[in-house]
Every structure is written in structure tokens, then in C-alpha cells.
Amino acid sequence: MSFVRFENVSLAYTPGSPLAIQDVSLEIQEGEFISVVGPSGCGKSTLMKLVTGLKAPTGGYVYVGGRQVGGPLKIVGMAFQASNLLPWRTTLENVMLPLEIVEPFRSELKSKRKEFEEQARALIKRVGLAGFEDKFPWELSGGMQQRASICRALVHKPRLLMLDEPFGALDAFTREELWCMLRDLWQESPFTVVLVTHDLREAVFLADTVYVMSKRPGRILVKREIDLPRPRDLDVTYTDAFSAHVHVLREHIGHVRSH
């Protein structure tokens, strides 16, 4: 059975209001990297709230790990367009935050603080932030803050990583750097990723499967497998195969927007 499974899911934020998403069915395998693209306001973020259990569907069923989702899941890491780091905590303290909340880390934190700190430091080093562990968020650049934010999303080793336009506010070069960082992290020990994005190149470069959503109420219009060989290098973005994928997706989006 697939890891995440949507069965005809619909959601209205308040009873009686128009649906934010309608009749969405999709399946995500364990360790799969999927990406959701679509015009703004199409309910991509709603999809994330449904997967993580922050919102309950008005219709249909959401299953994660074989169980129906009934409340906030603890096996999820999240990162958003804004890094949402806590300004009174250093990078290391920010990254350690999930370990203060999620079991079993929470109860072991007192006795194993040293060990956990080492793991956090290793992860921080892994994303290229070595030397910035004791800096405050406002002493970091936008790209660095986003790296720290992704560290925080991964430190408790979640089985599912939810990314809501995490690179949306960054410049093109930094964005490509962070694509590669995410690719390496995922390649090392694959976890399941749902990446919501506006950027088609980003979706094609990173994901195994790309879903295109329609305008409100959001529905899944297209599911496209990206068969580019892995590990993918940035050079792949200049190949014809890559451009063809982007082109096809772009046409679907254009079609959605004009209707």
C-alpha cells in the first residue's frame, strides 16, 4: 500500500463556503519525491494541511502510513516560504526545536542532549552552515535562513517532508544551490517529500512525479512522471528532455489559467 493516499478528498474551510479543493485522489509511495504545481490560490497549501492533519477533510479520506489521518501527525517535517526561525534562538537552538517537542526525543533530551546536539550540528554542517551554529537568524542571509529552516524540518528524522514554496523568496542562484542541497539530502537517505511550488523547473529538477492542479476549487488535472535519470546534475536543466517536461507542464498551466 502506498505511503500517502487521498481518496476523493474535498475541503471547505468553513461549512457552506466554496470548496478549496475538490475530489482529489492521489497516491505517494514511501521515499517518493512529488511536486504539486498550479496557479496561485489553487489550494496547494490546503493540500499540505490535509496531509499533515492540520485540517480534516470535509469529504473523502486521507491515509498516511496506512492509517487514516485524525489529527496533527508527528512524523512530518515542514518548511515554508518564510523561514519562520525563532529570532531569540540561535541556529542550533532553532534546529533543536523539534527535538524538544517530538517523542521519543523529548523525554530523552535531558540525558542525551550532547548526542542530539552532535546530530544537529552534523546536519547543519551538511547543509553548508558550519560556523553559523551560534548565530541568530537575523545575522544570516535569506538563503542561510532557509537552509536552517530545512534542517529544522529534518532533524527529528521525519518520514514525510512537506515543503511549501520553500525557495520562493530566494534569488535564482541561491535557489539552484538549495535545489542541489535538498537533492543531496534526499539522495542520501530517501524520505517522502511533497514540494509545493510555482517554479516548474524546480518541480521537474527535483521530483519523481509532478501534479498540476486546477484553479479553485483545486483538482488534480495532470500527473506527470519525470523519468530523468538520477542523480540529476544542474546540467540536466539544459537538456531537451528537461525542457520538454517543463514545456508540457507550462502548457497545462497556461490552459488552466485561461479558463
Binding site: 499533515t52 519562520n84 545575522e139 512537506m162
Partner: protein
């Protein structure tokens, strides 16, 4: 101010090590151009530090000149020199009464902090409690506290307790509102991050809500401490035989106007000192929220 700046300076070389190094190397052989720049900068900082004193001294000089120039009688407006003389003459009773006023003010302020934070946390973390309590709180805050003192006197007799309670009732509202605002304006994404980790409401309050509302809290303390002085002095004026308020009342009834003014100045000075104490605490404890060029405010 200086601590915040030095922090940023320490950070800069790490962020751009390459940009920093050549500069240092250039400076070494040619130290001369730096020297003329240094004195004016130091002078400017001194001026900033001295400005409040200059204004106060200037005010006293103008006041003295007006009193002497227009020959203002002492029972209308005593000159600063006469006020000073009264302060020196009556320094013992002033000290005694000022001690009482500081005590009632700080006691009332302590209750304000406890009640303000607890009620603020309640009001700020639950929309229902917010809706339910706000009209009542605003109504209560609109009552002039001087009108409430006689009721307190009926309940507790004259003296210390009404003064403490007036200081509390007049000063707790800004603390409550600020703590509640700090909690209620929590970014929903931040809450989502924590909720998606399975954090309880208490976790969110402890890890994010309270630390985040600390700058609001400390800003309100500065307002609350000065209000607490107003409250205790009002109560002492109406119903007490101790405290600066009482001292001023009895001095004015015997037409000792210079002593009245000495009392006013003592209250003002105590207010400024307490304000500075809490401003200093604020800078120490919420440095992360005060990192701009105006961080010394």
C-alpha cells in the same frame, strides 16, 4: 545600544570574510586617515548622552530666571533655588515619605506584573475569553481610579493597602493588553510548524508565545511603572498619612509651596529612575528584538 552594535560588528566578518580581510590589511600601514575621524564621533556620542541632562538643567535655569525676572511670589511658583532649599531642609520627612511611596508603588506594580501576565496569557490565547472579558476590562479601565479610592478606604481603611491597590488597578491594563497582543499576533505558520510536530497548546505557549511576547511585555512595564506611581500618589493624597502624596497635601494646606514642588520633583525623579531600570532590563533580556540603529531608545 553599544552592545547591539558590537554584536553586529562581530557578525559581519564571519558573513563576508573575504570582504573584511583586504580592508584590515590596507589599514595597517596607513593608520593616519583614521585618526581625524575618531574625535568628532566620540563627541557626538557624548552629546547624545548629555542631551537629557542639558534639557533638565536648561529648564531649571529658565524657570529660575522667570521667577526672578518677573518677581513671582513664592506661594504661586517657587523658584528652583527655593524648592532646593525646602528639599534640603525637609530631607528627613521627604526620605521617609518617598520610601513609603516607593514601597506601595512597587508592591502594586508586582501585583500588576503577576495579574497582567496571567490575564494577558488567558485573553491572548483564547478568542472566547478575549471576547468575554474585553468589554469588562475596558469598562474597568475607564473608571478614574481616584473615584475608586473611597471605596477601597471603606474596605481596607486608610493608608498602605488602598495605595497598593490603586497602583495596581491603574497600571495593570497596559501589561495585560500588551501580553495579550503579543500572544494573539503569533504568525499562523509558526503555529503550524509546532502543531505539525504534535505540540500541545501549552508547548506552543512556552516555546513560542511567551518568548515572542517578551518585547511587548517589557515595553508595557515601562508604561506600567510610571502609572503605578500616579496610582499610589493619588491614593496617598486622598486617604493616607504617609507617602509623598500625603506630604504634598499637608505642605500645601500650610502654604509651604516650595515643599510641594520638592515632592513633585521627587516623584518625577523616582519615576525616571524606575523607568530606566526597566528599560535596561528590556535591553538585556530582549536583545533580539532591539537590533536597529535606534536600539538605545
Amino acid at each position: 545600544m553599544s552592545t547591539a552594535i558590537s554584536q553586529e560588528e562581530r557578525a559581519l566578518p564571519h558573513i563576508s570574510p573575504n570582504a573584511g580581510e583586504p580592508d584590515v590589511k590596507v589599514e595597517d600601514p596607513v593608520p593616519a586617515p583614521l585618526a581625524p575621524e575618531a574625535p568628532p564621533r566620540r563627541f557626538r556620542i557624548d552629546l547624545v548622552a548629555a542631551a537629557p541632562w542639558l534639557v533638565v538643567i536648561g529648564l531649571f535655569i529658565v524657570w529660575e530666571l522667570i521667577c526672578r525676572g518677573f518677581d513671582v511670589p513664592e506661594y504661586l511658583l517657587p523658584a528652583p533655588s527655593a524648592v532646593w532649599a525646602a528639599g534640603v531642609e525637609y530631607w528627613q520627612p521627604i526620605l521617609l515619605h518617598a520610601g513609603q511611596t516607593s514601597f506601595t508603588t512597587l508592591a502594586g506594580f508586582a501585583i500588576t506584573v503577576v495579574v497582567g501576565v496571567l490575564l494577558g496569557a488567558l485573553v491572548g490565547s483564547s478568542p472566547i475569553i478575549y471576547k468575554a472579558l474585553y468589554p469588562l476590562l475596558i469598562g474597568f479601565n475607564s473608571i478614574p481610579k481616584v473615584a475608586f479610592v473611597p471605596v477601597l478606604v471603606v474596605w481596607f481603611g486608610i493608608g498602605t493597602i488602598p495605595a497598593i491597590l490603586t497602583a495596581f488597578t491603574i497600571s495593570f491594563f497596559p501589561v495585560l493588553v500588551n501580553v495579550a497582543t503579543g500572544l494573539a499576533t503569533l504568525e499562523p505558520e509558526l503555529e503550524d510548524v509546532l502543531r505539525s510536530l504534535g505540540a500541545s497548546r501549552l508547548d506552543i505557549l512556552r516555546k513560542v508565545g511567551l518568548p515572542r511576547s517578551m518585547p511587548y511585555f517589557f515595553a508595557s512595564l515601562k508604561i506600567a511603572i510610571t502609572l503605578a506611581f500616579v496610582g499610589s500618589v493619588i491614593s496617598e493624597t486622598v486617604a493616607s498619612n504617609l507617602g509623598i502624596g500625603y506630604l504634598m497635601m499637608s505642605a500645601s494646606s500650610s502654604m509651604n509651596i516650595p515643599l510641594v514642588f520638592a515632592g513633585l520633583i521627587v516623584i518625577g525623579a523616582m519615576g525616571v529612575v524606575m523607568y530606566e531600570v526597566f528599560a535596561w532590563l528590556e535591553r538585556r533580556l530582549t536583545k533580539w528584538a532591539h537590533r536597529g540603529p535606534n536600539s538605545g531608545m
